[in-house]
């Protein structure tokens, strides 16, 4: 006589096996993906773009223009139809390994992919190590400063391998909703046209419009968009030391600015808020109905300049930073953030660990990258340079901060 409990146990086992088989055989697309899956940095994603050959040829021929071309994007079997692709970048823009911006709702109103409105494919053209941007944005997020999420991707266009790219979350309403909780504010992308060190560009809004390009609320009137931006930089250049801080505080979150600048200097970023050629690679954000602005980091391909880059690098040339650090609390915050970065890095071997993880992920794909502008040996040497940076930077910064006291 068969034991009923045994029958029940066998039945349950069979059901469990069947369930497991069913789940494993189910199409992947049946499992809901999220933006976090797309920016899962533990894998190198495979992304395929499909473009009409005529459009692709024109995109390469006119890579200096921002013309949009239609495409389909495929990731993990999910196809997003009718996306718009355009060439992007400044120094990295080229017709060989295209830097690409993908807009999901350019042609199809309201279309989102995993909650994203746009996605950037950074061609890593200016970074032989291929991981600067990834490490830098990771540190911002680690230190609690909102920054775009990133992961690596092998990009194929019409089945042709284009190499390793950094897949970067675009800064738009969806990014704002995720990071600061509101999508209705004004977001500007800073466009480097000439060295800008926080100068007063005068009363005419026309001077601010070309370098602060709105990415949200595009149809707002000029005075509403750029009026507070002008007021910001005019207040920064207020010579009166008594009124300076209250005046500037109406337009800038000084603590946030100092924090971001400190993290950038920990990263030895030479082309950011305190860049060698003026301010660059940042977004400026103002909440709905507010006058106060904050900054977001962008494009850190030029970070990790050298491990012994002075921690006060660029401070004196930037009008906002120089004046801000005249205030003891802000100065203290700046060095405290630097020290916090170094301390965390030292304790967790954060940079070194993340670097090795990323390098292991991409090394084979990078060696096979047919369009990168450097040799495999250059890539390997650049990784070694980054390893040395990771070993030395924290100690250097902690020593330098200590000397400030």
């Amino acid at each position: 006589m068969i034991d009923r409990a045994l029958v029940g146990h066998v039945g349950a086992s069979v059901a469990l096996v069947a369930l497991t088989v069913w789940v494993s055989l189910a199409p992947r697309s049946a499992v809901a993906q999220t933006g976090d899956d797309l920016f899962d940095a533990s894998v190198v994603h495979e992304v395929r773009l499909f473009m009409n050959t005529r459009d692709l040829a024109e995109l390469r021929a006119r890579f200096e223009e921002n013309t949009h071309y239609p495409a389909d994007l495929v990731w993990r079997g999910e196809r997003v139809r009718n996306v718009a692709v355009r060439s992007r970048g400044l120094g990295s823009r080229n017709p060989i390994k295209l830097g690409l911006a993908v807009d999901f709702d350019y042609y199809t109103t309201g279309q989102r992919f995993l909650g994203l409105r746009g996605l950037v494919f950074d061609n890593l053209w200016q970074d032989p190590a291929m991981i600067r941007e990834f490490l830098a944005m990771g540190l911002f997020n680690r230190m609690g400063q909102p920054a775009p999420r990133e992961s690596f991707a092998r990009l194929y266009i019409n089945h042709a391998y284009q190499g390793v790219y950094a897949m970067v979350e675009d800064l738009d309403e969806e990014f704002l909703a995720r990071t600061v909780g509101g999508r209705n504010g004004v977001l500007f992308e800073f466009k480097w046209l000439y060295p800008f060190f926080g100068d007063d560009l005068g009363d005419d809004l026309a001077a601010y419009k070309p370098i602060f390009e709105p990415r949200t609320r595009l149809h707002d009137p000029d005075a509403s968009l750029w009026g507070p931006v002008r007021d910001l930089w005019q207040s920064v250049n207020d010579e009166d030391s008594v009124t300076w801080r209250p005046s500037v505080s109406r337009f800038v979150d000084l603590e946030q600015f100092v924090t971001q600048a400190a993290i950038e200097n920990y990263l030895a970023e030479n082309d950011g808020l305190l860049g060698y050629a003026g301010m660059d690679n940042f977004y400026l954000y103002r909440g709905e109905g507010a006058t106060i602005h904050r900054f977001f980091p962008w494009d850190k391909d030029n970070a990790f300049l050298r491990a012994d880059l002075p921690i006060t690098h660029g401070i004196d040339s930037n009008r906002l930073m120089r004046r801000a650090l005249e205030y003891e609390d802000l100065r203290a915050r700046y060095f405290a953030v630097l020290a916090a970065c170094a301390q965390m890095d030292l304790e967790e071997a954060w940079l070194a660990t993340r670097l090795e993880t990323a390098a292991a992920l991409i090394v084979d794909f990078t060696h096979a990258d047919p369009l990168k502008p450097f040799l495999n040996a250059d890539f390997d040497r650049a990784l070694d340079f980054m390893r040395a940076f990771a070993r030395e930077r924290a100690t250097y910064v902690l020593d330098a901060v200590a000397r400030q006291h």
């Binding site: 499909f50 005529r54 389909d72 009718n82 199809t108």
Partner: protein, 429 residues
């Protein structure tokens, strides 16, 4: 200099028309004297100023000037309301040589880019077989092939203006066979001027065969049904890869669909038409469908569903002063010059013009290579009054109500429904 010459020509045409209206009403109304030989050499002014060179040749001079008030479609138009535009100033000659060769040459003086309109000869071999060659309208669409002088409304129907082919260079065999059956079969260089824009990058059809058949089934029956006529027409052409020139514009010529969608392959036009003119009334209707293939233009170089443009209209008129529509209203029973009211006609037209892709189902997209495109449709009603105080003068007043399915693409984004109004003064010799 050219502008001055244009003003001069305008003025001359207007003056000629007014002068003719005032000076020659009697002769114009009576025409040639009874018993007078039509071949007698000399100058006559019946329908048009005509030079007669005996049986060898007969040449008419034709002229038309149209003055329109500014249309009021956009907000900017509202600010200009009340002003006048010189819409057309057409000058031409037409005639017959040796009684079998007809010809016509028309030039639009207001158009510097493409001034020549009809330039053709027609060989009248026999009633069943005539051969026409030159530049003229493809035999497709009743409305498009109605002379602008005789239109029931200031503007042609939208399908006549944008879906019918319009003019091109070609050769056509046509004639009447049996009693009441007309045919027109031809081949043209391209698929007409309406498929082109000023933008040379826009593509249009290549060599275009066209066929049209019209039947008047009661031609020998009772008078009230004699004028009933129905017809069908067809064209086909090959369109090279590119963005097409066929576009959607409102009744008063404001854009509501500017195609950015790639096409390539065969373009086919299908048309049906119906006209009936019993006594002082008339009814007309047409339907046109233009299907353009999109071969190999997807993001993966595969085929997409065809681009479809479709339109129809139904219109009706009533000559309240009693003239017979089939004979035309340009000869009022009681012209103003004889103390009458002239001919007065009321007209109404309902029409629709829409653009879409053959495929549906997925989200519509404005991507130039989308399977399902973001289309648009304009549904319009036109209400008009036509006044012919004299055979050479016509005044038209139109009010147009239009409704767009996608107003964001139209002249007044945010306003799905809008009204327009316009007045036209037409002088014709």
């Amino acid at each position: 200099m050219i502008r001055s010459a244009g003003i001069l020509i305008n003025g001359a045409l207007c003056a000629l028309a007014v002068l003719a209206t005032a000076a020659f009403p009697a002769s114009a109304q009576t025409g040639r004297n009874a018993g007078e030989s039509p071949d007698r050499p000399g100058f006559q002014w019946t329908d048009h100023p005509t030079l007669i060179l005996g049986p060898v040749a007969q040449v008419e001079v034709r002229a038309r000037v149209q003055l329109d008030t500014h249309p009021t479609v956009t907000d900017a138009d509202d600010e200009r309301a009340g002003g006048l535009d010189l819409a057309k100033r057409r000058l031409g000659v037409a005639g017959v040589l040796l009684k079998i060769v007809e010809f016509e040459v028309d030039r639009e003086l207001k158009d510097d880019d493409d001034p020549w309109r009809d330039v053709y000869v027609n060989l009248r071999l026999a009633r069943p077989i005539q051969v026409q060659a030159g530049k003229f309208k493809l035999p497709f669409s009743l409305d498009e092939n109605t002379s602008a002088t005789n239109l029931n409304f200031i503007h042609r129907s939208m399908l006549g203006s944008y879906l019918s082919p319009g003019r091109d260079r070609g050769v056509m065999v046509h004639g009447r066979v049996l009693d009441g059956l007309r045919y027109e079969v031809g081949i043209f260089d391209h698929d007409g001027g309406h498929a082109r824009t000023a933008n040379p990058a826009r593509v249009y059809g290549g060599r275009t065969p066209v066929a049209r058949v019209r039947l008047s089934p009661f031609r020998s029956g009772a008078r009230w049904r004699r004028t009933l006529q129905g017809g069908v027409a067809f064209t086909t052409s090959q369109v090279p890869e590119g963005v097409p020139g066929i576009r959607g514009r409102t009744v008063l010529d404001a854009s509501f669909f500017s195609s950015r969608y790639w096409v390539q392959g065969t373009r086919r036009r299908y048309g049906t038409e119906l006209r009936w003119q019993p006594g002082p009334f008339s009814i007309e209707s047409e339907y046109i469908r233009v299907v353009t293939e999109r071969r190999g233009v997807s993001v993966e170089n595969t085929d997409l569903s065809s681009l479809v443009a479709e339109g129809w209209y139904v219109s009706g008129t009533w000559a309240v002063t009693g003239e017979r529509k089939a004979r035309g209203l340009e000869r009022p029973r009681r012209p103003v010059s004889r103390g009458g009211l002239g001919a007065i006609e009321v007209a109404v037209r309902a029409e629709s013009l829409g653009f879409s892709s053959a495929a549906t189902g997925e989200a519509a997209s404005s991507s130039p290579r989308a399977e399902v495109i973001v289309g648009n449709r304009d549904r319009a009603q036109t209400y008009g009054v036509n006044w012919h105080p004299h055979r050479w003068v016509k005044v038209q007043v139109n009010a147009v109500r239009e409704a767009l399915s996608n107003p964001a693409l139209g002249p007044r984004p945010g306003h799905p429904v809008f009204w327009s109004r316009q007045l036209r003064l037409q002088l014709t010799l």
